[in-house]
């Protein structure tokens, strides 16, 4: 099994605040890995560092897209990272609210399509074909996540759970080999969480990609992920299979607080 994402002693400081401290993390192809930790542990900062939104202060991020050689991606622009094949969703939903559901997905295919300004003005046949193909592929993805009924609605008019699904569909449209999900189940009810779990598993199998997710819903994390990393105050405090992690005294301490000997 090959490694898709290999993070070596990654650190990020904001002034005097060390948000990430020597974080090592590996994701193998076809694996679902979870990153958990209390609020403010630095999980989203970690995502921002590997996707290029922040530049890491120290350390290396190596990314190996499908059938390609390993690339060092820290310091790369976010759009380049996405082009290589790393897609993400956002904790606080960041859809293009005043565009239609279909357009949201079509935008994400920007780096997989080529039409330039002149192509847009003159519309030669190959551009028309590309546009048609773009619509079809985007629509297929919407159908896959079950949003095809709403494809011409504005994204802001979708119910909350569907907005989360649209974020996933949008990320999938960039044709990634690694999918980063930032709290996909936040604010969802138990049924929605269950169907999301099915969706994540199915995506992994159908598109043959690795998934790294941040999640607070423990039942989802424990049943979904093959390995778990636990963070606290910017450091990794534990890693392993769900069973190992849930028994780790350090993890229990981080989540439940220290036992007081009063």
């Amino acid at each position: 099994m090959s490694t898709v994402l290999n993070v070596n002693s990654l650190s990020k400081s904001f002034g005097g605040l060390r948000a990430l401290n020597d974080v090592d993390l590996q994701v193998d192809s076809g694996e679902i890995v979870a990153l958990i930790g209390p609020n403010g542990a630095g999980k989203t900062t970690f995502f921002n560092c590997i996707t290029g939104i922040y530049e890491p202060t120290d350390g290396d991020v190596f990314f190996t897209p499908h059938d390609e050689e390993e690339r060092r991606v820290n310091g790369m622009k976010p759009n380049k990272v996405t082009e290589l094949g790393m897609a993400r969703t956002f904790q606080n939903i960041r859809l293009f609210k005043n565009m239609t559901v279909l357009e949201n997905v079509m935008v994400a295919r920007h780096c997989r399509t080529k039409a330039g300004i002149l192509d847009a003005l003159l519309r030669p046949p190959h551009v028309k074909r590309e546009e048609k193909e773009n619509i079809e592929k985007s629509y297929e993805l919407l159908k896959y996540v079950g949003l095809n009924q709403h494809y011409n609605d504005l994204a802001c008019n979708l119910p909350y759970g569907d907005q989360r699904k649209l974020e996933i569909a949008r990320a999938m449209a960039t044709e990634p080999s690694l999918l980063l999900l930032d709290e996909p189940a936040a604010g969802m009810n138990p049924q929605e969480t269950a169907s999301l779990k099915e969706l994540v598993l199915d995506i992994r199998d159908k598109f043959n990609l690795a998934i790294l997710l941040i999640e607070h819903d423990m039942s989802m994390v424990m049943s979904l992920s093959e390995r778990i990393y636990v963070m606290e105050y910017g450091c990794l405090i534990s890693q392993g299979t769900p069973e190992e992690v849930s028994k780790d005294p350090q993890v229990i301490k981080a989540y439940l607080g220290e036992e007081s000997h009063a």
Partner: protein, 407 residues
């Protein structure tokens, strides 16, 4: 009842406020005071009526907001945009409009043709600005500067090198486009109000340079005797040249409309819209933010350059006074009034802001009051503009899809 009482109070208050100017008048020759009590009655009744209408309109607007969303979407589309979606209606209407605009110079006087030339110039300017403000969501207050770049490109090239209109037209657009890209570099990181201030400053810089670089641009007295566009070497009379320019600007306006529409519905256009909606998500979806912003500025300002060249050819005389901040403000008003992101809106907006003042010359003293009142009314009752932009509807063939209404 409450509204009635409020309106009576407003009307009494206005009667009191306007008393000194509307009622009492001192006749300085005969040293008497005239009391025009009828005026008081006019003010009272007028204000009462207006304030009642105002309240009624506000109440109606609020009631509308609480209606069920399903009925709202059907009603929301104005009859105009609904008619334009129907090809059977839209095609003959567009053809008739086109025939009318082609026949226009034959039907009206030279003076009227002139007015329509400036109307079409503002349509082109507005459509260009619409790419930057409406589609890409970058608040831009320096559009007149690029209009000036286009105009001065032609004027200077013509003055110093004798270059003709048809060569200067693409060059003017190119220079304005390059100017837009040059401005875009320092403002890449700015958004919203800050961007507006910088672009406003840039507009003033261009104007001040033109005004003070006397040796090159002639300073405040400008450049005169610019050649009119040539038609295969024929000499045209002033009236004929005007008609010729009318056709040129009509062609440019139509080309601009088609080009902007196509751009908006393309890969680039979607990237611009994504930039407007959310910059971080836009980058995370693989869009190069820098590239797209440069494109937005370049594509928007190029049209201002084209319009500038035609403006210089039309007036044969330009000076920096034609490119003040007022000009940028009017172009922005056209876009905002018409509806940001909507092409049809830009045409209606410039019709309102350019044609109205010309045809209401009888009320020219009150022009700014009417203008301001119209703006206030728009912002209160229709903040999305005359024609609200709506997402493009795509058609997908899918037998599994439940059609609307059947569900």
């Amino acid at each position: 009842m409450q509204g009635l009482k409020q309106s009576i109070i407003t009307s009494l208050w206005f009667m009191f406020l306007t008393f000194p100017i509307m009622v009492a008048r001192v006749n300085t020759i005969e040293n008497t005071v005239e009391w025009r009590w009828m005026n008081l009655a006019y003010v009272g009744v007028g204000v009462f009526f207006l304030s009642y209408v105002w309240r009624w309109a506000l109440a109606r607007k609020e009631a509308k907001q609480y209606e069920a969303p399903s009925t709202e979407t059907a009603k929301k589309q104005s009859w105009l945009s609904r008619a334009m979606e129907e090809p059977a209606v839209a095609r003959p209407a567009l053809a008739a409009l086109f025939a009318l605009s082609v026949a226009m110079p034959m039907l009206v006087t030279t003076y009227q043709t002139n007015i329509f030339i400036s109307f079409l110039l503002y349509v082109v300017l507005g459509l260009g600005l619409n790419i930057i403000v409406g589609v890409a969501g970058l608040l831009f207050l320096g559009h007149a500067a690029f209009y000036a770049i286009g105009a001065y490109s032609y004027a200077l090239l013509n003055h110093y090198f004798g270059i003709g209109f048809w060569i200067a037209l693409p060059l003017g657009g190119l220079f304005a486009c390059l100017g837009g890209i040059m401005l875009a570099f320092p403002v890449l990181r700015l958004r919203g109000d800050y961007l507006a201030i910088v672009t406003l400053g840039f507009g003033e810089i261009i104007r001040l340079v033109l005004e003070n670089w006397g040796s090159l641009t002639g300073g405040p007295s400008g450049i005169s005797n610019i050649d009119r566009p040539g038609l295969f070497g024929m000499e045209l009379s002033v009236a004929d040249a005007n008609i010729y320019i009318y056709y040129i600007v009509l062609a440019l306006a139509i080309i601009t409309m088609i080009a902007v529409q196509r751009l908006k519905n393309s890969r680039i256009g979607r990237a611009l819209q994504a930039l407007r909606e959310d910059e971080i998500a836009c980058q995370a979806m693989g869009i190069d933010r820098v590239n797209v912003k440069l494109m937005a500025f370049g594509l928007g300002t190029a049209w201002a350059g084209f319009a500038g060249v035609i403006f210089a050819a039309k007036t044969t005389f330009i000076n920096p006074a034609s490119f003040t901040f007022m000009e940028s403000a009017i172009i922005l008003s056209i876009v905002v009034l018409g509806g940001m992101g909507s092409n049809l809106g830009v045409i209606l907006g410039s019709a309102f802001l350019v044609l109205m003042p010309e045809y209401l010359r009888a009320f020219s003293e009150y022009r700014m009051i009417i203008f301001a009142a119209a703006m206030v009314l728009m912002m209160v009752f229709r903040p999305q503009g005359l024609i609200a932009p709506k997402g493009r509807k795509y058609h997908v063939d899918d037998p599994d899809l439940i059609k609307e209404g059947e569900a």
